[in-house]
Symmetry: C2
Subunit: 105 residues, 2 copies
Amino acid sequence: MKSKQIAHHVFFWLKNAGSVEDRDKLVEGVKTLSKIPLIKELQVGIVADTEKRDVVDASWAVSELMFFDTLADQANYQNHPIHQAFIKNYSGLWNKVVVYDIQEV
Amino acid sequence: MKSKQIAHHVFFWLKNAGSVEDRDKLVEGVKTLSKIPLIKELQVGIVADTEKRDVVDASWAVSELMFFDTLADQANYQNHPIHQAFIKNYSGLWNKVVVYDIQEV
């Protein structure tokens, strides 16, 4: 049995909402984060073509889901140079970010 | 290399916001979903004690993150009797749900 992890799930909304080009650029950017050794697993996503329901938020463009062993690893990730470079190089693409930090139980 | 999956991430807000008892009941309820064979993996979570930042939404109480092989599996999950029983037995605990359906890329 795996130990309990910290999941860090980030959703990005594009400045140019609906731009496939900007979405793909941001996907490329998020994938650079996989080089950060503190991240145990990184999954990059776009909106899935599921049924439209009131509870489903499909207004975002790109998501990053990553897992950490500890809260300290997540905190150190924030300051990692590759993460900082990602923000510097790609933050021009988005105008809204929502983050969920999750403790597995 | 794994094939690309569908992630289905649901966040629940409690009617009795801040009730640890109701949170734990809902965690127990969400865990019943793991018996649904269509779900490849289920991770149940509560709010992690990470740094408070403007972009971090820590107002929810319980999360369920599950993975499916296909969009059809996700659609069939919605109608699965164990899922329907979960809604019947536990929906009195929450007053808001937000769902993100994610296609891995």
